[in-house]
Amino acid sequence: MLNKAIEVRGLRVVRGGRAVLPDLQLSVPTGRVTGLLGPSGCGKTTLIRCLAGVQEIEAGDVTVLGEPAGSSTNRARVAYVTQSSSVYPDLTVRQNLEYFAALHGAAPDAIDRSLAAVDLADRTDQLTGDLSGGQRSRVSLAAALLADPQLLLLDEPTVGLDPVLRRDLWNLFADLAQQGRTLLVSSHVMDEAGRCDEVLLMREGRILAQTSPADLLTRTGADDLERAFLQIAEGEQV
C-alpha cells in the first residue's frame, strides 16, 4: 500500500489573472483524516478541485493514489463532495442515490448503508430540494460514500450542521479512516482541527504548516487551535 495518498509538486493555479496557488508542495498520508484548514478564500477549494481533477492547472504534478489526478482509475475510487450540495433537488433522496449508485456500479445494499451513515434513513422518499441545507449536504455526502472510495475529498462538509450532527460526522470520518480510507476534510473553523489526525494550515495559497493538532499546540504554546493558527499566520515561523 502507498503511504502517501496525495503528492503535490510545484502546483500553480491562476484564476481570473490571480495566482490562487502560486507554487504548492504537499503530501497527505494514507489511512488518516487530514484537515485542510484556513480562512475563506485561501485556496482550499481550488486545491481540492485540483486533487479531484476538475481544475485547470498551469504547472505542477498532482499525484493521487499513485496516478495523475482525475485519471479514469481515480474517478472510480476518489469521491469529491463539493461545498454546496451537488445533488439533484428535483429528485427524491433515494432517486439521487440510485443514480450515483448506478454510475459507480455500487452494491444494492449500499444505498441503505450510506443513508444510515449520514442519519437520513427516514427521509428517503422526500424531495431533496425540500430538505434543509444541512440535510442536502448529507445527501451529497451519502452519494459519495456509495462509491466505496479509497480517498474522500470533502469540502467544508460540516458547515451549518448542529453540534450533535457535526460530532457524528467526525466520528464517521474517523471510522472511515480506521477502515484504511484516506480523508481530506477542509474547514475554516479551527476548532475542527482537533478532530483530525493531521492538519494542513493554509493561507493565501501557501501551506504554512503540516503537523498534528497536539504538536501545533505544543510548538506554539497557544491555549487553543485558533490562537495557534494566528500565531503561525502572523509569524510564519514554525
Binding site: 481533477g53 476538475v54 474517478r75 463539493t82 439533484y88 433537488p89 428535483d90 432517486q95 443514480y99 448506478a102
Partner: protein, 240 residues
C-alpha cells in the same frame, strides 16, 4: 451503456417531478394546433399545408428549450462538476440526455399527431411521427450544444429566439422557399429546420419514405451527430 440508461432514467425522473412541464410538453402542441386550425377556419387550405409542418416545429422548439435549460442548470448547480469526477463518460452523459428527451418527444408527437389526424382531419402518413422524433432529437442536440455558451438559465432562454426564429422564418413554413431571394434561399439550405419542414411537406403526398424524405432524414441525422459531437467537446472535465 448502463450508465447512459441510468442517466436517461434520472433525467426522466427529474422531469416527472415537474408535472407542469410534463403537461406543457405533452399537451401544448395539440392546443396550438387546434388554435391554428380555427384561426384559419374559413381557409382550410392553409391549415392543410402548414399544420403538418408545425408538428415538426413544436418538438424542435420545446426540446431545445428544455434541454438547454436543464443542461445549464446541471452546470451551475455543481452536479456536472461532480459527474465529471465519477466514472461517467461525457458521451454517456450526452447519450443519456438524448435518449430521455427522445422518449419525451415520442410521447409528445404521438399525442399531437393523433389530435391532428383524428381530431383535425389532417391527412398525412404515419412517417411524421418518425420525423417529429428526429426533430426533437435535433432540438435536444442543439440545446446541448448551445447551453455551453450560456452562463445562466436566463441566457439559455434568450438563445431560443436567436437559434430558432431565423430557422422558423427561412424554413419554408411562413413563405415558400422558392419565392425567397437567392441569399435567403441559400441560407435556408444551411438550416436544419428547413429539411425537417421539407419532410413534413412531403408527408402530405406520400405514405412511406420517398427519395426526398430519405435525403431529409440523412441531413437531419448528420446535423444531430455534429451537434452532439460538438456538445461533448464543450463538456470539459477541467474548468478554470
Amino acid at each position: 451503456m448502463s450508465r447512459t440508461l441510468a442517466t436517461a432514467r434520472r433525467v426522466l425522473r427529474q422531469l416527472s417531478h415537474d408535472r407542469r412541464s410534463v403537461a406543457i410538453i405533452v399537451v401544448l402542441p395539440s392546443i396550438l394546433l387546434v388554435l391554428f386550425r380555427y384561426v384559419y377556419d374559413d381557409r382550410p387550405m392553409i391549415f392543410d399545408r402548414v399544420g403538418p409542418q408545425m408538428l415538426g416545429v413544436f418538438p424542435f422548439i420545446v426540446m431545445f428549450l428544455v434541454t438547454s435549460v436543464t443542461m445549464v442548470r446541471e452546470r451551475t448547480s455543481g452536479t456536472l462538476e461532480r459527474l465529471m469526477t465519477t466514472p461517467l463518460r461525457r458521451g454517456e452523459l450526452i447519450g443519456g440526455y438524448a435518449i430521455a428527451f427522445a422518449i419525451a418527444a415520442l410521447v409528445q408527437s404521438l399525442v399531437s399527431s393523433a389530435v391532428a389526424v383524428w381530431g383535425l382531419g389532417l391527412d398525412m402518413g404515419a412517417v411524421v411521427v418518425l420525423f417529429a422524433v428526429v426533430d426533437a432529437l435535433l432540438g435536444t442536440a442543439l440545446g446541448l450544444f448551445f447551453s455551453a455558451f450560456a452562463r445562466t438559465e436566463f441566457q439559455a432562454v434568450q438563445f431560443m429566439p436567436a437559434v430558432v426564429i431565423p430557422q422558423l422564418l427561412l424554413c419554408g413554413l411562413l413563405a415558400p422557399r422558392d419565392q425567397m431571394t437567392d441569399v435567403l434561399s441559400w441560407l435556408s439550405n444551411l438550416m436544419p429546420l428547413t429539411w425537417a419542414t421539407d419532410a413534413f411537406t412531403e408527408s402530405l403526398t406520400t405514405s412511406g419514405l420517398n427519395g426526398a424524405m430519405w435525403r431529409d432524414l440523412g441531413i437531419l441525422t448528420a446535423c444531430v451527430v455534429v451537434a452532439v459531437a460538438g456538445a461533448s467537446l464543450t463538456l470539459r472535465r477541467r474548468t478554470p
